[in-house]
């Protein structure tokens, strides 16, 4: 069977979320570089795969699929019998996985991606960091993390006592926040969030991915 093709960019958080999931599910893949720096994602060849012109997109046989969180759910469902089980064991557990996946997408991602974008991306594009935007989003993220702190004081992982897609979705942006933005205190100052972060980021499946995300 042909390996799954992942069209992505090595520094893209969404791409790395998918690569980590492929590792967890022990699925082979071929990586096809879409170089965002040269605008490859906006060229007709890529837009034919993903009309929104963003990475990643996967090809699995006849299926072309984009949106990292949708790709995660597809992989977790298709490869349910192998690798790490990422959806819980019952319908109710799966529902809680979806709930915390939505929390990541709706409440965690907006502030953290703004912080990472302002600190890491904007200066590299010749602009200057909007410090007010960073401060505002640090405050927003802090409030979200306070709720995570409460949750993780009662539950080892977000959806329950099992690692799931919900935890996985948090890996790439938190990695940048802690290791490249100098905002690790947001995590380390919260006892249970910190323990959870130490745990999930030490998974070998993640460490393999993180190696390719080094920011110079």
């Amino acid at each position: 069977m042909a390996a799954i093709k992942v069209h992505g960019f090595h520094a893209s958080t969404a791409t790395n979320m998918v690569l980590c999931c492929l590792n967890e599910k022990q699925v082979e893949y071929d990586f096809v570089l879409i170089d965002l720096l040269t605008g490859a994602h906006k060229k007709p060849q890529y837009l034919a795969l993903n009309p929104f012109g963003v990475v990643p997109t996967i090809q699995d046989g006849d299926l072309t699929l984009f949106e990292s969180r949708a790709i995660l759910r597809y992989l977790a469902q298709k490869f349910k019998g192998q690798g790490t089980d990422l959806l819980g064991s019952t319908l109710s557990e799966e529902a809680l996985v979806y709930q915390w996946c939505e929390v990541e997408g709706q409440s965690f991602n907006p502030p953290v991606s703004t912080i990472v974008s302002q600190i890491l991306v904007v200066p590299r594009r010749g602009g200057s960091t909007d410090e007010a935007a960073v401060e505002m989003n640090i405050e927003k993220l802090g409030k979200v993390l306070d709720i995570y702190e409460e949750r993780l004081s009662k539950s080892k992982y977000l959806a329950g006592d099992f690692f799931s897609l919900a935890d996985l979705q948090h890996l790439p942006h938190t990695h940048y926040l802690v290791s490249a933005c100098g905002k690790g205190d947001l995590i380390s100052s919260r006892k249970h969030v910190n323990a959870w972060w130490e745990d999930i980021s030490s998974r070998p499946t993640w460490q393999k991915v993180a190696e390719n995300m080094k920011v110079n």
Binding site: F52, A70, Q99
Partner: protein, 220 residues
Amino acid sequence: MAAVKLYGPLASTATSRALACLLEKQVEYQLIPVDLKKREQKKPGFLAMQPFGQVPVLQDGALTLFESRAIVRYMAEKYAAQGTIGLLGKSLAERAVIEQWMEVESQTYNPPSSFLVFQLAFAQLWGIPQNQTEIAKNEKKFSNALDVYEKRLSESKYLAGDEFSIADLSHLPNTEYIVKATGKAELITSRKYVNAWWENISSRDSWKKIREMSEAGSKK
């Protein structure tokens, strides 16, 4: 089986998203209003169910679940065999494409359209000044997304294929407000295929029922 409880005001897009799915699946439910004006969603009783202080929340027996799109997925899976069939597709590949368009709604359609709805339909009611620069920015973002939708819907009756799915359902609440309450209906109506899709999905029994309930509620 005991009815599920859905907490939230009907006027909230997230609440009506969840309710639309309950109606499509013909699930018995109790809609329990939450008074956002009185900040009921920030009181301890509600925060115990939903620590982010947002509507809606679903209670189904021992399960308490929040985030409207998670509620939609859970209901569509649990009640796959009743009500509208095929909301999750008939195969893993079909489901994947449905999930893709649900994520597009969540990450690309929802942010700019929510912003426009808040600024143009609600800000003045609540005495909040409108931010014209941001309105223009979000209108552009929303338009760009709708151009992609127009192309997609020229090739496909519904977003994920030939059948109505939870991907189309997720778009109902925001689009209703855009068309009815922002003065920017032409964003939808000027696009031939988007408009046809909107006319189609908003004429479903489930959405008609929600419109009836909203009208009845506003007459009190």
